[in-house]
């Protein structure tokens, strides 16, 4: 027993050392966001001075939080809606062009973000969706489709056919079967897709950088990056660190809460993808 425990000690030393390196930046940033920086709203001691700077910066923290929430919410709803119906179609129906459409959806993964964002900038202008949170959400939802459609297809395929057939025989249409019988069965897949879509939309930087020109409409990552770039001469590290905390907290909470779904979605993606 003792020798076994001793045999494990080097393992724990390495694992713990690495854990400290991985945690340190997160802990330091949190601490720094509350601590003093000369020449900022938090001159001495600890407090919320840096957060107050962020609250009043340009269009205001609440505006940026609202923008980010709207974009992430819309992206999640769009991704869930499209991939739910699409996944159902790809798993349970036969129609001409089905395989081509599925392959085209997956092909979105093959094309670099930047290659699509330049023409999307022009295209959204023509659709009068330039500089709009709706246009941004549509683009972000499109980038989520390969993973989401794939995930929903395998979720539907995992549901026994008999379950749905008995509903159909009992007089439901396919829409009824989807709503009453299949929806509860694919809920884990929906949670995974929703979580991934939220994290991607909440954290995305390059799409809003290119598609949003009005600082009133910037989502939070863009606003915090601008806060740093626009400050003349003196750089407000404190407010930036506070911004990172505001950005990170929802992601860390969601991940810790839904860890199981995250890892499972990940595995199905990693194994079959």
């Amino acid at each position: 027993m003792l020798t076994r425990a001793l045999g494990r000690t080097p393992h724990y030393v390495v694992a713990s050392g690495l854990a400290v390196i991985f945690l340190f930046p997160l802990l330091w940033n949190t601490w720094a966001s509350f601590s003093a920086q000369p020449g900022t709203a938090q001159e001495s001691g600890y407090g919320f001075g840096n957060y107050r700077t962020l609250l009043d910066y340009d269009a205001g923290l609440w505006r940026y939080l609202l923008n980010s929430t709207v974009v992430s919410g819309l992206t999640v709803v769009l991704t869930l809606g499209v991939s739910l119906l699409g996944g159902y179609a790809f798993a349970r129906f036969r129609f001409p062009g089905k395989n081509l459409l599925f392959l085209l959806t997956l092909a979105i993964l093959m094309v670099p973000y930047a290659t699509l964002l330049i023409p999307l900038y022009v295209l959204l202008g023509r659709l009068h969706l330039q500089n709009s949170l709706i246009g941004l959400s549509l683009v972000l939802a499109m980038f989520q489709l390969p993973f989401a459609t794939f995930m929903m297809r395998i979720s539907f395929e995992a549901v026994p056919r008999e379950l749905e057939e008995s509903a159909l025989v009992d007089g439901c249409g396919t829409a009824g079967a989807l709503r009453r019988v299949l929806l509860p069965a694919v809920r884990p897949g929906l949670i995974t897709v929703g979580l991934f879509a939220f994290l991607a939309a909440w954290n995305d930087f390059i799409a809003p950088l290119i598609l949003i020109s009005d600082s009133e409409k910037a989502p939070l990552p863009l606003a915090v990056a601008n806060l740093r770039q626009q400050s003349m001469g003196a750089v407000d590290y404190g407010a930036t660190e506070a911004g990172v905390v505001v950005l990170a907290v929802p992601c860390l909470l969601l991940f810790l809460l839904l860890q199981r779904h995250y890892v499972r979605g990940f595995m199905s993606g990693a194994l079959k993808g």
């Binding site: 854990a19 179609a89 129906f93 930047a114 489709l145 396919t174 390059i206 990056a225 911004g243 860390l252």
Partner: protein, 320 residues
């Protein structure tokens, strides 16, 4: 497959579940209705793919062959001027070289560390779950957020790294982690490894857990040393997961943008400008969307070629 849908077509010929032969009397009609329904459910996907994926792809091709200023103006064709402009730019080849160097560096360090992490936490000994979560935690952050965090961490005036080194007496002046080309590159690699190591650890962990226990047991019975087991069992059987990690890591690194845009802004002296940053600058600082489109097409072609080669290589390796 084509049976049992009491939808509109079938309503006129109700299917009775208790009859021995369940096949409806109008299979063609029914099948057609089922086909139409399938198409209806797939329609939103089709619209998204057509409008936000295929149309932009066509448009970027057209843009790359025409004069396309950011603001409306003359849009005559100018092939192949955008392409020659793109490759003639003084930053083009340095950016390509830098992106390749960065990709090699990140891939080697990141996958090496991810493999170490996966091996450390693969067995379900006490604390394994905790360590997995801790290693993955930076992965939940966005790349732009992580870059902003490290921008503060690396600050010579207020960051903890420089101050600690000074207090320990290791350096006399504040250290500029982003001040020289080499330091900026290494600092960015460190940030990216910190952010993504847990993510790749998860992929490799899935692969490790798919290796059957019996294989290890047989090797132990034959008296193989841990090093031999790792080299002749773990690594070969882990190859699919390693290949997937390699593909994702190489593709992601070749398209690097956020970390350099936020952390180094391409500096010092344009030493850390990546290819995607070049596209951004061409479009929104030099206001020339046509050249940016040509650059985008070049990147797309290079990536497709790389993916084809990688798939070929993997298939070839599988056969041998």
């Amino acid at each position: 497959m084509q049976v049992k849908a009491p939808d509109r077509a079938a309503a006129e010929h109700p299917v009775r579940p208790d009859t021995p032969d369940r096949r409806p009397r109008t299979p063609t009609l029914l099948r057609r209705s089922r086909t139409l329904q399938g198409m209806a459910y797939a329609a939103p996907t089709a619209v998204f793919v057509a409008v936000f994926f295929l149309l932009p792809l066509l448009l970027v091709g057209q843009m790359s062959l025409s004069d396309w200023p950011l603001l409306a103006g003359d849009r005559g064709g100018n092939a192949p001027e955008n392409y020659t402009d793109a490759t003639d730019s003084t930053l083009f080849w340095p950016a390509v070289r830098f992106t390749l160097l960065y990709t090699v560096l990140v891939t080697v360090v990141l996958l090496g560390l991810a493999l170490l992490l996966a091996l450390l936490v693969q067995e379900s000994r006490p604390g394994a779950g905790f360590f997995r979560t801790v290693y993955f935690l930076p992965g939940a952050l966005g790349l732009a957020s992580a870059s902003l965090l490290f921008w503060g961490l690396y600050s010579p005036s207020t960051g903890p790294l420089s101050r600690t080194l000074e207090r320990l007496g290791l350096v006399d002046d504040p250290v500029s982690f982003l001040g020289t080309p080499t330091a900026a590159l290494l600092s960015t690699v460190f940030l990216v490894v910190w952010k993504f190591a847990g993510f790749y650890m998860l992929i490799l962990l899935v692969g490790l857990q798919r290796i059957p226990h019996e294989v290890y047991e047989a090797a132990r019975m034959d008296g193989a040393s841990p090093g031999q087991v790792f080299r002749s069992i773990t690594l070969p059987l882990l190859r699919p997961s390693l290949a997937l990690s390699l593909l994702l890591c190489v593709t992601g690194s070749l398209l690097a943008f956020d970390q350099f845009f936020v952390l180094t802004k391409g500096g010092p002296d344009n030493s850390t400008v990546t290819v995607v940053q070049l596209i951004y600058r061409e479009a929104f600082q030099r206001l020339n969307l046509g050249t940016a489109a040509a650059l985008s097409i070049i990147v797309l072609a290079a990536l497709l070629l790389l993916n084809v080669l990688q798939f070929r290589g993997l298939r070839h390796a599988d056969e041998s």
